[in-house]
């Protein structure tokens, strides 16, 4: 190797080192500073939701700054109005549920005990006689621990609610410029690959997040309308839970519907009421699967159901509920990256 080529190689390695270093530093800051990672994830969600509106206004001739400010102001007005309208109701339902939790847990454990004794009549006891008592203890502990942490969770949520729009605003305004500067650190030999990879991941993530958000909103809205019409308690709270958990494929809709069925069973609901409840959640999922998924999710990265379940389990292990929600986009990004790197290694080079 000539001294000149050796110098080029040294420069390439230095650039790669700084690029990877900058990425690691960024990830380190995000994961070490409290509330930063969640704020950033939420900011990314907001970014992908608002970006089409910003691009649309820019296409209409507005400068990037105004094209960013206007949708932000509109969303702020809309969010404030919705917050004023629904947040007190949501909070009161949450408080009522927390207060009534011991009663629900007791009834749920009793119900479980009855089911256990029914099962033991037909077969050998699988989980032991005191399974329902253990479950009652675990649920009571879980609720009391979470109730204790509620002020911390609320203050953390407020930080996230304030930080996320702040980050999202600057991502929309200067994000592309920042990315260009970051890409400037990439060595020449890898530049085209990384640029293309960034574009692919970004467009797939955009489609994925927008589709999932619309799905969640529609599912949440149908569940809310249905429960209100049925006169079911905690309608808003249960609709929010259904909408949030709908983000998790396959498992989410089932877990999202479980609290409503548990409340109905504990309250001694009739078979007709249970059937109506099943119809509400079933309709929401049917509309999602038959109308929204074919039209919206067609472009989304296709992950095999087994991969999805594995990703959810890993996400839950690593990051709890947040991990479960973000694991699918993260896995999709990893899939796109792996395929692109594989193609680069096998097809890119002659």
């Amino acid at each position: 190797m000539t001294p000149l080529l050796a110098a080029i190689e040294r420069e390439r390695r230095a650039k790669l080192f700084f690029f990877v270093g900058a990425l690691i530093l960024l990830l380190g800051v995000l994961s070490l500073v409290q509330n930063m990672l969640v704020s950033f994830i939420l900011a990314f969600v907001m970014y992908y939701l608002i970006a089409p509106a910003v691009d649309f206004l820019e296409r209409r001739g507005l400068r990037r700054l105004w094209a960013t400010v206007i949708p932000f102001l509109l969303i702020l007005i809309l969010a404030t109005s919705l917050g004023v309208l629904f947040f007190p109701l949501f909070l009161s339902q949450l408080q009522t549920l927390v207060k009534a939790a011991p009663q629900y847990i007791e009834s749920a454990a009793a119900l479980m005990g009855r089911i256990e004794s029914q099962i033991s009549r037909y077969s050998a006891v699988v989980a032991g006689d005191d399974f329902h008592l253990g479950l009652q203890q675990r649920l009571t502990d879980w609720v009391s621990t979470n109730a204790e942490h509620l002020p911390t969770v609320i203050s953390g949520s407020l930080t996230v609610i304030l930080l996320a729009p702040f980050f999202a605003f600057f991502m929309l305004l200067d994000g592309r410029d920042f990315m260009r500067r970051l890409l400037g650190l990439v060595p020449n030999s890898l530049f085209e690959l990384i640029l293309n990879l960034n574009h692919q991941i970004s467009s797939q993530m955009g489609g994925f997040i927008r589709a999932r958000m619309i799905e969640s909103l529609v599912v949440g809205f149908i569940v809310w309308v249905g429960l209100v019409m049925m006169g079911f308690p905690y309608a808003l709270l249960l609709a929010v839970i259904a909408a949030l958990l709908n983000v998790i494929p396959y498992v989410g809709p089932v877990v999202g519907a479980a609290p409503a069925f548990l409340i109905a069973l504990v309250n001694g609901a009739t078979n007709t009421e249970l059937l109506i409840l099943l119809t509400i959640y079933g309709t929401a999922q049917a509309i999602d699967a038959m109308i929204l998924v074919p039209f919206l999710v067609a472009k989304i990265v296709d992950l095999h159901p087994v991969t999805v379940v594995l990703a959810i389990l890993m996400g839950a292990q690593l990051g709890g509920v947040v991990g479960m929600i973000i694991c699918i986009p993260v896995f999709s990004a990893l899939k796109v990256t792996t395929i692109a790197i594989y193609r680069h290694l096998t097809h890119f080079r002659n």
Binding site: T2, L4, L5, A7, I8, E11, D55, E58, R59, R176, D177, R180, L183, G184, N188, S189, F191, E192, L195, N196, N198, H199, R343, H344, H347, F348, R349, N350
Partner: protein, 174 residues
């Protein structure tokens, strides 16, 4: 010398230079100053040492390069089927203002048909498919203008290739 003023002046001159370089290029000829500013903020400036490879023959390409400063040599490699020896021959040398790799902007499975190597300290303006998509998203008029010019460039290249093939066919024995 006041360094602050010195830097400000240099930065502004550099921006002006980039805009004028873009304006001189066939693809961006029809763009207004505002549209050129958008392109200026999107394109990628890359610097290469003498002998540094821009891309290799057979690489998947995602865009084109405009030579802002310096020189780029274009080589093709051919493998002898019998001996498996690789022979390299220089096709041409491109100078400031020239551009290459434009087919990659529209061809999804594009493979570079030749290798490009910097002949001296070289600055290239990289314009890639994601950049073209971003321009079309943010300013469709500018996107259409660029695409029309790109069509023209590819048309000229096709015409030249057809002409060459016709000439070669003439030389073939009947």
């Amino acid at each position: 010398m006041n360094f602050q003023w010195d830097n400000l002046f240099r930065s502004s001159a550099r921006e002006q230079k980039l805009i004028s370089k873009l304006r001189e290029n066939m693809l961006f000829k029809d763009l207004s100053t505002r549209e050129l500013r958008l392109v200026e903020n999107i394109v990628n400036i890359r610097t290469y040492r003498p002998g540094e490879v821009v891309f290799r023959q057979g690489d998947a390409g995602v865009g084109m390069y405009i030579i802002s400063k310096g020189m780029v040599n274009i080589y093709t490699e051919a493998v002898d089927a019998a001996t498996t020896e690789v022979s390299t021959s220089q096709v041409t040398s491109l100078r400031e203002g020239d551009f290459f790799g434009d087919l990659a902007l529209v061809d999804p499975g594009n493979r570079r048909s030749a290798s490009a190597v910097a002949g001296e300290e070289t600055t290239l303006i990289g314009f890639f498919k994601p950049d073209l998509i971003e321009i079309a998203d943010r300013n469709p008029t500018a996107g259409v203008k660029i695409l029309l010019r790109l069509g023209e460039v590819l048309g000229v290249r096709l015409r030249e290739t057809t002409l060459k093939i016709s000439e070669l066919k003439k030389d073939l024995p009947a």
